[in-house]
Symmetry: C2
Subunit: 188 residues, 2 copies
């Protein structure tokens, strides 16, 4: 068993927030006893859609793409990169571990053949919208975008953006804000 | 000049939100005319702490770390990775472009010598808190954490987490949620 206080400590939010958030999805806890860990874990995986495996297409086999391909946590959480695509003649046909890098022109037939559902975009910003359009056309249900560009997709396709440079920008903003706090000596 | 409607279209929020957000930081626009692009850009860079360059220490020279090192957008936004550290004897002493990978034991003296201010953690989850502690001890002002682990740092240090697996989990959640919408045929 774990209490909402225990979960709050691990996740860095308040115990009231833990109880409130979980209650949005069902009645998982027992008053005074807390949550049964095994059941809670299973329920959360179900809520997040992690009670199954997802087949992922990676488009872009450069630095970021290759790193994502090797990132073990994806597979551990149920996301299998089942095909890798690129546009560059230098990369198409090369191997990335057990996969051959395919030409992005074959995205639609491969998506249908392999049952790919999620697309990961790891291409330069200027190419990102065209790749997103191809993914939508191929029937992808969700897109994870690493390119430094706002993308437009139809409402039936889920989209998440990971902008690594913006993360550093948020950090420099926070550092500035911390230094401006009353009682702290501004460092510059 | 650009209108708040124009900014809203580019950023995917409402024009009211654009005006409200910018008004938190000052009076940048002219009623009926909009915002002067060059001035707005300069003001936003100032707000975000991007009117200067930041020296960054990267700890972890594996897949993710190497990809981050090669990620050009960081430098473009003012973040220079000035030192790379690792713990593995296989990696320490190797070169990553123009830098030698240093032993993480030298983090504190190198931080002082080079004036490093931001630390990027790209190590396995189990090692992440120890690296964060070293960064705090070395005097880093901000930490960007890529490890799959909640970290604890003192309040005077800014912390941001990028959890790549959680991004895919959020996406699978959104895909599920889209399929549950009324009027859509559930696909599974």
């Amino acid at each position: 068993m774990i209490s909402s206080q225990g979960l709050a400590h691990l996740s860095g939010v308040t115990s009231a927030q833990v109880r409130k958030d979980l209650s949005c999805f069902g009645n998982f806890g027992k008053r005074g006893l807390g949550y049964q860990v095994a059941r809670l874990k299973k329920e959360i995986r179900l809520i997040l859609g992690l009670n199954r495996r997802w087949k992922v297409a990676l488009v872009g086999a450069g630095n970021i793409g290759s790193a994502l391909f090797s990132y073990k946590e994806f597979r551990r959480q149920g996301f299998d990169i089942a095909a890798v695509f690129d546009v560059s003649p230098d990369r198409v046909g090369q191997r990335l571990k057990d996969l051959h890098i395919l030409n992005v022109d074959s995205l639609k037939p491969e998506t249908e053949r392999l049952g790919l559902e999620i697309g990961v975009i790891a291409v330069p910003a200027r190419a990102a919208q065209a790749v997103a359009d191809r993914m939508v056309h191929a029937g992808m249900r969700g897109i994870l975008n690493f390119a430094h560009r706002k993308l437009f997709v139809p409402p039936q396709v889920a989209l998440r953006n990971v902008n690594l440079a913006v993360e550093l920008e948020s950090l420099s903003f926070s550092i500035k804000a911390l230094n401006l706090r009353p009682g702290r000596k501004a460092r510059r």
